[in-house]
């Protein structure tokens, strides 16, 4: 199947679409941050600045060039890793971002490592015993977590684990993570909150993917010939559901992007999202642009990955 030219054509097509999407997205980000606010030089210097000073700064920053040229040079800079300098403290943005990016990726990695096994187990089990009290319980839990804001999950987690049970520190991120215990305590609250949010999505999608496979005639045949319910799901349905499940996992991981913004802010976690929200209060536009692009690229990567898994795993999508 992997040798068939149509498969690779489709994958190539999907990658091209992702690339075009990325171009449009970057234009939208550039448009929102550079063209909507009006005169950046005026904003930087404040209301009291003389017109000469504003004109001088505008020339020094290259703001007198046409917007489209500025967009192209900004895009070229991004592609080569040159993200420009921060307005506020005049440090290279790449330098500001790199350490924070490692922190955010570590958080995302831990959450993924927890969520994938938990959600697959619960999702497949819920599909296996569809309609049982277990399935209903899981469904009600996941729907509740999906329909409330992320900060509410965080608030509840703090109330339960820090205030009532007194196991973990409430809203502080410990800077001195010297021992393993201290590190666990520092990561616990953000990880718990994010895991709940992402798991809820992943369980729902996994359950739906497995149930769709169970509803096919050949699985019904397995049940009719006398296979047990678990054999029917694990042996007959699951191999064919693997593609949709992988697709569901990649898609629900994209919820990390939205969740991480709230969670890093509420727990004061030094990641990219916290950097960006802080940059909003100082109106540090180049920094916001770079952080926004990092999030957009990771989001697009996950969505494209999900699509490609779907294409590669389902022969019918290739025709």
């Amino acid at each position: 199947m992997l040798r068939s030219p149509t498969t690779w054509l489709l994958v190539g097509q999907r990658l091209t679409i992702a690339f075009i999407t990325l171009l449009i997205v970057s234009f939208a980000v550039f448009f929102a941050t550079e063209l909507l606010p009006g005169d950046v030089a005026q904003i930087l210097l404040g209301q009291a600045a003389t017109p000469e000073a504003v004109a001088g700064l505008r020339e020094a920053m290259g703001l007198d060039r046409p917007a489209f040229l500025r967009f192209l040079s900004w895009l070229g800079g991004l592609a080569t890793g040159d993200m420009g300098r921060s307005y506020v403290n005049d440090i290279e943005i790449a330098e500001l971002v790199s350490g924070r990016l490692v922190n955010s990726l570590r958080l995302a990695g831990i959450v993924t490592a927890i969520c994938v096994p938990v959600s697959l187990t619960l999702g497949i089990a819920a599909a296996m015993w569809r309609g049982s009290w277990f399935d209903r319980g899981v469904s009600i839990m996941t729907i509740s977590f999906i329909s409330v804001p992320e900060f509410m999950v965080a608030t509840l987690a703090v109330l339960i684990f820090a205030v009532w049970l007194d196991w973990l520190p409430a809203l502080s991120y410990g800077v001195n993570v010297d021992s393993l215990g201290a590190m666990l305590r520092a990561y616990a609250m953000p990880v718990i909150t994010l895991s709940f949010v992402v798991c809820a999505q992943m369980i729902r999608m996994t359950r739906a993917a497995v149930i769709e496979t169970i509803n096919t005639p050949y699985v019904e045949m397995a049940l009719l010939k006398g296979a047990s319910r678990s054999r029917m799901v694990l042996v007959h349905a699951l191999p064919n559901a693997l593609g949709p499940i992988a697709n569901a996992v990649a898609l629900s991981l994209s919820y990390l992007v939205g969740g991480v913004i709230i969670v890093e802010t509420i727990f004061n976690y030094p990641g990219v999202a916290k950097l960006m929200v802080d940059a909003v209060s100082t109106r540090d536009l180049p920094l916001i642009q770079s952080c926004a692009m990092i999030f957009c690229v990771s989001y697009l990567t996950l969505i494209t990955l999900a699509d490609m898994i779907a294409i590669l795993s389902n022969p019918r999508l290739r025709q």
Partner: protein, 288 residues
């Protein structure tokens, strides 16, 4: 005999039950909570026990008591009054945004489905690309650039959710577009505007309204998220997300001032989901 029958029919009110729609109990609970918050959004200012911005208690983060039903906030203001007033911001902004997003998305989606061709391809590609920006991030970037106000919030949220609404409406409209009666109408020489309003829209209106409800929930969540980050409704006014942000310091004290605004958001979003999930299939899946 026939006369009386016709008479009673003409007197019947067009309530859902009379139109042949049945709601189960979960849907009814959802609808009740939605209507409750809708009424509060309109009359909240007048039924609040205390003036909204007034400091009424010397104690901050006060507990639930007979005087202050939901405790007091970080300045000693009555949380119950502030939640009643916050309903106006949360429900109002979300309703405005969802109306704009869905009106725009549905009209564009139907036009794209009827016209087809290059127009359809370009518009679909462009809006799909906008869908590639995480919604909360989109909001943060726009608010960072132009500052926040209620108008900006409504417009931004509308732009964020227009692509999804477009995609949904277009998919439905494409199905209807292949039906015989549309072909007949086209053969009659009807204009695009007639096709859209008379032939296609009546056939997709049910699912489209169900979709509108779900999109309303997403908008409430993103709006609360923005307000929670301090980028939404600005003090002294506060929607429910902003109320949580204001009082987040009280979290380590277990103050009711943090819990009740959260519960207000959850009650609204969960009941909309409940209502939409339990809509009669007659409304929801009419095109299937």
């Amino acid at each position: 005999m026939t006369m009386t029958k016709q008479r009673t029919r003409s007197l019947r009110l067009p309530t859902p039950a009379n139109l042949g729609y049945r709601f189960n109990w979960a849907g009814r609970i959802g609808l009740t909570v939605i209507l409750f918050w809708a009424v509060i959004a309109v009359i909240g200012r007048w039924v609040a026990p205390y003036p909204v911005g007034e400091i009424v208690d010397f104690d901050y983060f006060g507990p639930v008591s007979g005087d202050y039903w939901m405790g007091t906030d970080y300045l000693g203001r009555d949380i119950f009054s502030r939640i009643l007033m916050g309903a106006r911001y949360t429900v109002g902004i979300a309703l405005g945004a969802v109306t704009l997003a869905c009106a725009g998305g549905i009209v564009l989606g139907m036009i794209a489905a009827v016209i087809g061709g290059l127009f359809d391809t370009c518009l679909s590609r462009f809006l799909d690309a906008l869908n590639g920006i995480p919604s909360l991030l989109f909001g943060i970037v726009v608010v960072a650039a132009v500052g926040t106000s209620i108008t900006v919030l409504i417009l931004t949220l509308a732009v964020i959710y227009l692509p999804g609404s477009y995609r949904f409406a277009r998919a439905l409209a494409v199905n209807v577009n292949t039906m015989d009666f549309v072909t007949v109408a086209r053969a009659r020489g009807e204009k695009t505007s007639y096709l859209i309003t008379r032939e296609i829209f009546p056939n997709i209106v049910g699912p489209v309204f169900a979709d509108l409800g779900l999109r309303f929930v997403f908008i409430v969540l993103v709006l609360s998220g923005l307000s929670f980050l301090g980028l939404g409704v600005q003090p002294p006014n506060a929607d429910w997300g902003a109320l949580v942000r204001e009082n987040i310091e009280g979290l380590s004290l277990g103050a009711p001032a943090v819990v009740f605004p959260c519960l207000a958001i959850a009650s609204l979003t969960i009941s909309v989901n409940l209502f939409i999930d339990n809509l009669p299939t007659k409304i929801r899946d009419r095109s299937d």
